[in-house]
Amino acid sequence: MKTQPAIKNYFFGKAYGDLKNTISESFTRNTDNAKDFFDKADGATLPSFYWGLSIATYVFGTAVFLFCSAFHIVFLSLVTIIIYLCFSFIWLLDAGYRKYQKIFTACPHCYTKSILPVYHCPKCNAKHDQLWAGPYGILQRTCKCGEKLPTTFFNGRKKLTASCPKCDKSIESLETRPIAIPIIGAPSVGKTFFVFSLVWYIKEQFARTKGFVFKFMNSYNENNYNSEISILHRGQYLRKTVENNPIALNFFLTKNKSKSLFFFYDSAGEAFSSTQNLVQHKFYDYFNGLIFIIDPFSIPSVYAKYQSNLSGNTSIKPSITPLEDVYDALIINLEKNYKIKTTERISKPVAIVFSKVDAFDLQNIIGENAAQKILKTEETVKTIEEARREVCKAFLKNNELEALYRKIEWKFGNSQFFAVNSSGKDSIGIDKVANWLLGEIDKSYKNI
């Protein structure tokens, strides 16, 4: 354990110094006494009496001294072992609980993953970066300033002020299981529209119908959401995302014992223009699911088809970055920085989402209408999920992107295709993305 600004448990710190001092002091006391008696024999009427005392003190005194020291050592070791076992047990309990609940700390600012955040002493603000059971204390420890701090998940540790071990910014995760979902896509594909519509759905419908309590992690997130969603509902444009390294959008979703903290990462699309930019996105190390957004109008042949109509419609804002570039940047980043092999499939759920399907007749080509139609007419298509995949596959195929479809299907072992329109409460298809993705991430979110 690293040095902590706290006082070590007596039996792991001071006890051994005390033992050494006690032993040496008692031995000197014995020899001093013996010498005194020996000196007194000089000129005494009965010198042999003092000699006798001196010898007795030496011989029997040393024997008793040895016995006492041995007893002291054995007793101390015994107590140390017992305390060691106690703190190991509590440490194991605490670590096991976190492991079982999949709890760790993810920084919304610098994305660093840590076991626990750095906790601050409420009295002197000293930083305790390993606030768990150990030589400093079992259930609690005493800070250098004298304040007692809890060291386990069940006696109030998570309520202490916390900060990121890497960037020092504040952590408000309350030791909750993080669920990290990066949103991937080129500039203007509709990531920001999608994220706020998705959060609106989770907050207003998903949580309500399934009995979850929705709560933003802090007022920054709440204000950000409120202002963006009201812009969205007024039908205005959201401001362009400029942050390559976004602060995560965080909220808690709680039901009985299950509590999770969501992290949505909505980076500026420019971040995907080169793998270099993605190096800092450390959340790819621990993400739970991906949302890959595709703007149908970024596909040249689709753009060409609707070109004349698009020029009159300013609200669609077609993305101009080729789809494959974003896909390649993402995969290269995963392979280079997170040791995912070229031949390895990603088993975490990936939602492939076509945006802007409210435009023109897309609803009939890749939207729900098209999927329903295929479900009815095609014998081989059994479920609506398969139907959605089929229409998207056909769409990509008809637009010279079959190779990309194959790559996506192979690389993402657990993927599903969706077509959405993101406009807050009037969105289409967002609910299906949320239900599928959350259900795949944790079965407690599955339809009940």
Partner: protein
């Protein structure tokens, strides 16, 4: 003969006195050492001051 008995008694008396002296010495030595250990213990074993 009585002389021999006298000697034996004398030796026995010596041994007895020596034994008693030894025992007293032992008890004394032990007590002093125990007292010293206790003093040393209470002088040194204290919880850390803040």
């Amino acid at each position: 003969m009585p002389q021999l008995i006298g000697y034996i008694l004398l030796i026995a008396a010596y041994i007895f006195v020596a034994g008693v002296a030894m025992s007293i010495g032992a008890v004394f030595g032990c007590c002093i050492a125990l007292y010293n250990y206790c003093c040393a213990f209470f002088n040194n074993v204290k919880p850390e001051k803040i």
